[in-house]
Symmetry: D3
């Protein structure tokens, strides 16, 4: 496996554990982070032996969001022409978005395990994950509003589908802190754990369950849920029928059926 600068990847069986790895900087997302995210999730996507990924933060926090030095540097690259600057900024925002699109579009489920700070760009990141779990003391905040800007790496697009429209706006306009239990109550996280160790243990357990399923079926399920969010139910039904036209001819169904009959777990190919 490749060595990374701002991230770290470990493979435990079929689970890729991706750590944001700048603990001295509260895992702030620097230039390297954005590029490495694309590389890593491209690797997760195309590596058959990886069936599910977990993201967590090294050290005391998940992540404090985008590194302010990056913003300062971008500001320094502006030219004389407002129009051309706008084009440059637009393309840069699209480039950052691509890092989290890589998480969402990765064919394998990606689970966020959150402890400590999860603010600003970190909310954008976990919104692109499939599920979120946290410690009771995890601290969530849509901090962009306090930087004088509208969040532009995915929070405002994806989070309303997770926590609903009403609370979404309160958090986005005020930037107020939300902790583990309230996060669970509003659907931001699925479960709350007492501390970091039990969080990682719990999330690894869930990841392990997923890794034991038919990888083809898991990938189809992820594709369908993502597709359904952005399309009508009628379009979604037609899509799964077309998808399953091929996939129901896979061996995995026979394996699952046999396993079901014999009451033994099925062993699926990658």
């Amino acid at each position: 496996m490749h060595e990374y600068q701002s991230l770290k990847v470990e493979q435990h069986g079929a689970i890729a554990h991706v750590l944001i790895n700048r603990p001295a900087k509260a895992n702030a997302m620097d230039e390297a982070f954005w590029t490495e995210m694309v590389d890593i999730f491209d690797w997760v996507d195309r590596t058959d032996s990886v069936r599910v990924a977990v993201i967590s933060g090294a050290g005391d926090h998940f992540s404090a969001g985008i590194d302010l030095a990056m913003l300062a540097q971008a500001a320094g690259e502006m030219t004389q022409d407002i129009g051309r600057n706008a084009e440059r900024i637009r393309r840069n925002v699209l480039r950052l978005q691509a890092a989290f699109n890589a998480v969402e579009e990765c064919r394998k489920p990606v689970i966020a395990a959150v402890h400590g700070y999860c603010i600003g760009g970190a909310i954008d990141l976990i919104s692109a994950c499939d599920m979120r779990y946290a410690t009771a003391s995890a601290h969530f905040s849509i901090k962009e509003i306090d930087m004088g800007m509208a969040a532009d790496v995915g929070t405002l697009q994806r989070l309303p589908h997770i926590i609903g429209d009403g609370m979404m706006r309160e958090l986005a306009y005020t930037g107020r802190a939300v902790f583990g239990d309230e996060a669970r109550e509003m659907g931001l996280v699925n479960r709350v754990y007492a501390d970091h160790a039990t969080l990682i243990e719990g999330v690894m357990g869930i990841a392990g369950q997923i890794a034991a399923k038919s990888p083809l079926a898991i990938r189809g399920t992820k594709e369908m849920i993502r597709y359904s969010r952005d399309h009508s139910v009628a379009d979604g039904l037609n899509y799964i029928a077309t998808w399953n036209a091929a996939m129901l001819q896979s061996e995995d169904l026979k394996l699952a059926m046999t396993a079901h009959m014999s009451r033994k777990p099925a062993e699926f190919a990658d």
Copy 2:
């Protein structure tokens, strides 16, 4: 009323009570089930004296989902050509979907009353219903993942609108069991009852309330909520304005107004 093989229909006043009726097989959905569903909900739709429908399971369970014998039979009908098999499978999936589309597109509200097992295809079915109520011991599971396939009869398209994106994925990837109280907490069911008898009594009470309203207004309301799920707010507002252009000329408004003034219940025509 017609006699059915895998289902049973009773009419109590303006309420059609549809029972899944293979109790010895935990109400598994066999070939007859899918055809009869279409017939029954076509009948509910076009029968003026029926204003609302309730679906529940005969015996100890709501339903254990699709009958595995059906899947085995489908597997036996495959030809030599993968492409033509794909077309055949696709059309078969669309045919099964049509059974639950008939529930969703039925002009009258359809309420699921769930006790015991509600797994696999049964989740697809209740996702197409208007509301869901359950006993505390009701057992929900998106079981398709353990059959080596992505659910393809509506769960992945409709359920996210009901329980939100985050928990949706956990349930779809892991297939884990959810019971009554957790189901209520995540919005999967609206209310939990102590046992089967109180469940049926409670749901019949709600159905009775709906049956007493203007049928025209109820049908318009169902159409609008369904339409809004799949369209922008602007499109939805234009649609209700066009719809009500005719419907506000109905007698039901005058009846309702008179009833409101006299503080007596209105009696609406079917």
Copy 3:
């Protein structure tokens, strides 16, 4: 500031407080109300010194919904031709919808503070607001069903995004009452206050927090959340990138950054 007949507007710093002001009629929405709403939210939108608006009801209630006298009058204006009547009704419904569209499309956040009755058209109104807060005794009901009609001023389009599809249908079909705590549990309101005084104090506090943020960033955030509700995530990401291409060139980011460094609050221009 202009004098209104059915509404009242007060400006407290950067907060516009809009009161529905027919307390003797439980703040029923009469002809003047609908016209004045458009005027007032046009004023809120274009007045730089106003950064956020709060809507509440004068007297004992938020609002009992549309004034039945209005419906009676509309009924009296019908001609001999059903087709031309339909066109007239359609255009009238679109006109009423425009009043609440003005709330939703206003660039500044609009917060509903609800006490007492909030029924019928009042639900349509608060569905178009950004957030909702209420007293414990606030009484919510989608009352249109009891008037023999499908609600047509926005409830059926906007509310499902706030409370989810399952409970939405129960409330819309039965018109049953919901009080403060249940409203909070289903996401209809974000927080419940003990009484009217603490409600107003709480909401003014939240409004004040929002008013202290960069107005440009708040307006961008509102635009993005509204846009995302009605578009795919991909479209939403492209839109914010295009939007921020200009907005990230604003002074507000530098002000925010400086404030962040100096740990003093930023003072943003209107």
Copy 4:
């Protein structure tokens, strides 16, 4: 093959020739016509030996459109309540639309061969066909406007994609006659023939060419063009990739490749 009342079906090899068969009434579309259309195109769709269909008119005309006796009868079935009448009319229009949806959704291409009158409902019908060919003297007119109504069986939805927005509106607002050559110039028909005999001969020739192709490839192509009309290019690209995931595993590609190498025509299974 079944006997029909208002239509007639002949099978010539892999081509189904569907004739509108009320020549004494200029092939006006009566009650039987609408039901039989659904039956026939369901048969075309599911009958493997049929690979393409041709529609033409028996006698001197293609069709004079809906039989006015049908409209008169519908008018006679109205009740006292405007709202309930509206619901009944709406459902009846949807029922008529279903007849031409059956043409569009039929998996096999459907070609219209037009001579004589093709007016009113006949324009709706040919708009749902894949391609249109005509004699020089064929007479086209969107006649509904002269019946005091907006065309409601598909012309206004499908025809703009065929002839463009500008000429579409002229024809729809004025109902003016268009003959063969002008029809070809605006894209309404693909080719003009001197008379009825050469028209039928020419269309049968085109149908024969299509019938010789891989049926699976033809069906996929029809599905894609229809889908693309109503979806974004991005959605369309994703759909064909998913579709061809199965279809490129068919034997037809190998047959085609072998035929290409040996320069002999391929013989595809139905």
Copy 5:
């Protein structure tokens, strides 16, 4: 009728003739033009006795597009903050767009009669009209590209539906001139007339034909064609079914039917 500064309106029977009336300035669109357009088409829309509108240019040209003095003035109103300037520009563009949206959304057909220059903003305007007719010497050009900007008042959105994607891009990128005959060939105009007098006579004739039809049917037809351009065929079919649910109950159908039987023209109410 009101007096206007940059436009002039004449009513001839049921036809409103709107003239762009700054002949000394080649009918360049100044500040007054944009406001008056909204007023005039609001008047056309709500005035029952007007059934169709014709737009043409006074003097030697249709219009040379936006008055450059307006652009210069807008440039002079900029502040110090790029972000706030962007917001101001965006709102101004939306305001100009609203003038041509008023043409498109007007319930009555609007026909452009073009002679002389029709460049820049004038192309945006005629793209929002229902149909276009021109003299042989009419001179069309998407001139915005030579002003260093992308056209932003509707050309790039509406014109592709009229002339197709391929020629659209050539005209938009090069700004090259197109004259009457080529305009007709590409579908930009429906017919070419020898000179201004025959153009106006011809267009008034077409307008007169439209004015003689059922106004209700014409309005429904315009609404449907506009709706279909922006929605799927399935959505369009559902919309016309809902629309006609009321409209087919109008007297106009009976009048049309009676007229048809007696072979006399029907006289429809406004």
Copy 6:
């Protein structure tokens, strides 16, 4: 500039001339072609000195489409599992599509200059270009149907917007040849030239005209036309207003204005 294997790139001033460069194989698209297309159009997109691109074929033809050896190789890579093969094929089709998406999404206009064969995959390619020009003897054919498959690299999605729905289906179902003049008549190409030399000269002239315009305005125009094809007019209008909020603050407008006043050509920065 980089050396390529199956393509060749020359830069003439601001024009990139991309040649498909396997003349001995009739420019069939081999494995290298697909990868190099992405690289080249990424280079065109990001290289400021390139403002427009032209694609043509080296030797006697534009291109004979996909190299059949590629299909044979893909067939050889299949595994035992139909489902996993389907996933592999799907991803491969998406990969090929990406090569032509790179043409469409390139910010600079791309013009196809076609002579000789342009069949199969070559039609997919030119459909993704902005405009198409051809020699009289150019030979177009949607050849995929004769390979037993539905075209899956963009023809079926993009071409209907260029040539209309009716002729689209004839060409896609029959695969028949179309030559220059007919191609122009149906809008497939914008102009026909006598031979290859005049074609290249003519297209270079058009490219030169485009290269002289404001690059920012050209890029905005391309983005808007592409966006409009896939969105409603209302969405398109909002998008250009947001886009131009920044772009109208560019220097290019002042340069254009000054040039217009002084009647000298403007010189725009890249």
